[in-house]
């Protein structure tokens, strides 16, 4: 599984969404059930999958699918 496939799979599992939802832009503010615990659950799954640990400000600024890709690249994840 490639990194982008792993990334997408985490979103699809956690948010019960589709690949089309992700491709259409997926901002957390637009998701009704988005909350701090879901936010931290996502962070935890990404850290485990890519063997990284986010700085707090990156966690706070992790606000969408697309913006998350940029943040992951900061940690050396080729995605």
């Amino acid at each position: 599984m490639t990194n982008i496939e792993k990334y997408n799979a985490i979103f699809i599992e956690l948010f019960d969404c589709t690949q089309q939802d992700l491709d259409g832009g997926f901002a957390f503010n637009d998701i009704e059930r988005w909350d701090s615990l879901l936010h931290m659950a996502l962070i935890g799954k990404l850290e485990e999958a890519f063997d990284i640990m986010f700085d707090t400000m990156d966690i706070l600024n992790y606000e969408s699918y697309q913006n998350g890709l940029k943040i992951l690249r900061k940690y050396g994840v080729e995605i």
Binding site: W34, S36, L37, H39, M40, F54, M57
Partner: protein
């Protein structure tokens, strides 16, 4: 977004009771409780007399959305337990949660003699443990089978934050200031 932390008053007892008994809130607490207003008034009299806890209502743009609190304040050993819940689902953002914690940490370590605050997190709430690491705490350990609830034992995870750790950590983050009463 205008955020403030206001000390609880007798006028808040009803909303606190309603929030505390909600299943989505009490599932993360060590106990499930059934409260009434008479119990609340007695509890509040004790709260005022003993002064071993401080509770605030979280206000956002004039709306009461949750509560954050220090309990088991130990003046001899200079520590207290911190807890929080956001009851209004529309306000359960990470940004709000971090903002109120960081402002409260500033208030605690500038205005009280406390040296350490800590959180106790029930087994199964891994996201809350990761949240506490993100807000500056370190994981200190685990009390195995420490809580017996609804016929089952649960581990209790301990996270802690000393004054020195906060002073170093706060330099690594930025946050909006809010009023803490």
């Amino acid at each position: 977004m205008n955020i403030s932390l206001k000390r609880i008053t007798e006028d808040d007892l009803e909303i606190l009771m309603t929030w505390r008994m909600r299943p989505d809130i009490s599932k993360h607490m060590m106990t499930d409780v059934k409260l009434n207003m008479d119990m609340q008034r007695k509890w509040f009299a004790k709260y005022q007399a003993e002064q071993t806890q401080i509770r605030w209502i979280v206000n956002v743009d004039g709306k009461q959305v949750g509560s954050i609190y220090l309990i088991d304040i130990d003046e001899k050993n200079k520590h207290a337990e911190i807890g929080v819940y956001i009851a209004d689902l529309a306000y359960r953002s990470l940004k709000l949660l971090l903002t109120i914690h960081w402002n409260l940490f500033d208030w605690i370590f500038e205005n009280t003699d406390l040296h350490r605050i800590y959180g106790l997190i029930m087994e199964g709430n891994e996201a809350m443990i990761r949240f506490n690491i993100a807000n500056g705490h370190q994981v200190e350990g685990k009390m195995v089978d420490h809580i017996y609830k609804n016929g089952k034992y649960y581990d209790l995870n301990v996270v802690g934050l000393t004054k020195q750790r906060w002073q170093a950590f706060r330099e690594t983050v930025s946050y909006d200031k809010c009023e803490v009463e």
